[in-house]
Symmetry: none
Subunit: 418 residues, 2 copies
């Protein structure tokens, strides 16, 4: 099956928003064996929408649009495409009642404003794709020659949810059995430079295996993507599993998980298995480590809490770091990181305490303590591990990389692979 995507919105044409929807859709469709053969982007103008969708329908008969389904006057997708199919728009009572229910759930008074009414309009004969992730439902419209357009909202979170809930199952049904797919599998590493990986991977990277290999470096580390193309689904899964199985051991302690799982989730899950509790004390990362750990559902069972000791007075009073020590060695030092880790562990009665202190920049660096210097300590009660990071990047990158290094230290501590 060949498909075209039309993304709609002035903000896309003006370059104010980068279109991530099209790439996400292409990957999901590729996984079903559906090829995106062309993509177009137009603004919020009915004529442009209808011309782009009409061209695409002419070529493939199968089009997905994103955007232009909102409640305001710049949302023209619905009437433009209804017009293209020669259908009238009618208010759908179920959608309208749903919009009213959302309005009330949000604790608002009275009726939703009139602008919301256009979100309840449905072209004659179109199918409503229920949106459990926001207010704008998707729509599926099809003519008697089987040519169809699926209209999705533009907000990425809603578009993704609706695609998974409604669109992909519908497309899977249409495709039936004889599918060829492109499928990928990702192995995640951290704490190792991209340029060192080819050595670690040895002959695998020279391409003896069936899956091709791509290196994807990012703030979290380097992801390795294995890809197989143009094979039946079950064959794809088998090939990827085999390849992952031969690559994983080569990565040693640097491999931390598969897929798109966050390192924080790995750490929370290891803590649950080991029945250990974590408490953190953060200076330069300012709460980001706690925020990453608590972003994992279920973290409350093992995460006791954190102290963001930004001001030195908080380090002294909440964590028991010695005022004399701070005076003598400065806040960014191995000794203070250790004292913070121990203070966090003891004051919040955890088995594992973490301390982070560093210079996130852009100001505050000195020749001895430059921007990017970060000390991290993990106190596991009977032993303390310390790491000195020299991170590059801007403030946010240095902060994020610090939390990633701290999480990896906890992971290794829990696995006993220092």
């Amino acid at each position: 099956m060949n498909i075209e995507i039309v993304t709609i919105g002035d903000e896309l044409l003006l370059g104010e928003t980068i279109d991530t929807n099209a790439a996400w859709l292409a990957r999901e469709l590729g996984d079903l064996g559906i090829s995106v053969v062309r993509r177009a982007t137009v603004g919020d103008e009915a004529a442009a929408i209808s011309s782009a969708v009409s061209d695409a329908l002419e070529r493939t008969g199968a089009v997905i649009t994103t955007g232009g389904l909102g409640p305001t006057s710049d949302d023209r997708t619905r009437p433009a495409i209804a017009g293209l199919f020669g259908r009238e728009l009618h208010e759908n009572d179920a959608i309208w009642q749903g919009l009213r229910a959302i309005w009330r759930e949000r604790g608002r008074q009275g009726e939703p404003p009139p602008a919301n009414r256009q979100q309840a309009l449905v072209p004659e004969g179109a199918t409503v794709l229920a949106n459990r992730h926001g207010t704008a439902p998707g729509l599926w419209i099809e003519d008697d020659r089987g040519r169809w357009v699926a209209m999705l909202p533009g907000v990425p979170r809603e578009m993704r949810g609706l695609t998974r809930d409604e669109l992909l199952p519908r497309l899977r049904d249409r495709l039936g059995d004889d599918r060829r797919v492109v499928r990928s599998f990702t192995l995640r590493t951290t704490g190792v430079a991209e340029s060192m990986l080819p050595d670690l991977l040895g002959q695998y990277s020279t391409g003896v295996d069936d899956a091709t290999l791509a290196y994807l470096p990012g703030q979290e580390g380097v992801d390795l993507r294995l890809t197989v193309r143009n094979v039946p689904p079950h064959e794809a899964d088998r090939l990827l599993e085999e390849s992952a199985g031969s690559v994983r051991p080569l990565l040693g302690k640097h491999w931390y998980t598969d897929g798109s799982i966050d390192l924080a989730e790995v750490v929370i899950s290891l803590c649950r298995t080991a029945a250990k509790h974590i408490a953190v004390a953060e200076s330069c990362t300012g709460g980001l480590l706690a925020a990453r750990l608590t972003s994992i559902s279920g973290s409350s069972r093992v995460f006791r809490g954190g102290i963001v000791a930004y001001d030195n007075s908080v380090k002294i009073e909440q964590l028991g770091v010695g005022a004399g020590l701070l005076e003598r060695v400065g806040a960014v030092s191995e000794e203070v990181a250790r004292a913070m880790a121990t203070g966090a562990r003891r004051s919040m009665k955890a088995e594992i305490g973490v301390g982070i202190t560093g210079v996130a920049g852009p100001e505050g660096g000195t020749p001895e303590k430059p921007v990017g210097l970060v000390w991290i300590a993990v106190d596991a009660n009977d032993s303390i591990t310390v790491f000195q990071g020299r991170f590059i990047g801007d403030r946010e990158e240095i902060r994020f990389r610090s939390t990633q290094a701290a999480l990896d230290m906890i992971r290794r501590e829990l696995l006993g692979i220092a």
Copy 2:
């Protein structure tokens, strides 16, 4: 001048690479007054390239392509577009000598491989756009009716350099003095539903003014983008300033800043002006509020610190929340939010204390305290303000929206606009 952009590459269609080139180009062109009226993306297939470029030429007579100029067999842009203009390709000796020089500069031996030769091919009558940022030169091809295609490399760094060095000056010349630009200005609001804005804006939104208005809803609130089109540059700035000046008062307390500034930055800056210090106590947001505040450079002058009181024991021991109170009303309650705010303010000696407690989900909701229920308190020493949020979305969204609401409460407190 209207223009279309065609971005070329299988990796774009497959969704492996997100197309950032098109958005970057649109912003640069918009600043010259050139409107991008449509965008298309095709794979590395000569027929698809030539069909997309031909459609675009038909509509606007002015097309920019990116990608497909490299040295490998999947680089088909050059022959596809030469074919469309009915031109032969000839090897250009200056380009070839340039490629040989780059080869030697990189310390390589012998001659560049034969594959590099195709990068020296130039369609008859085309102009070479020198690339000082990489190996693939750009090309400008034009027919006798003045219709043109500018071919740029796909690597973002090279594409940007070449656009600035060669393409923009050329387009500026073509436009002459009589330039007309598209320019935007953004007003940021929070704490108000998108569908309520048309009411607030009254007659402005019906389009009596010169700038058009777009609503851009997101987790931070709703941004209002004012856009003027097709006016001289100085006139554009004046119109935007005037329009912003008439819209801003209509937004009242919901407007918090202009442009792309984060609410945390607004809050830090207000604190610095008022010489007030902040301390936070977070439960469901788990450090995210502290992380947002500390992401602002210079926040250390006003942010004392935070306590992530995830476990109730931390609420009791670090914040002085009464064990009996927790027992009686539960952790997610107005009373506990108040006690947390006061505990944070007192224990960290700040003028402003914030407390957040809620149900971030996806688990832990009850009929009385559903997922999304969040209590936020701001203790400003002589008064405590409390807000009950009913946020929708997944765990991360509920957490983020909670921090945004808390920041807005601090902002209003500092401005005295409760």
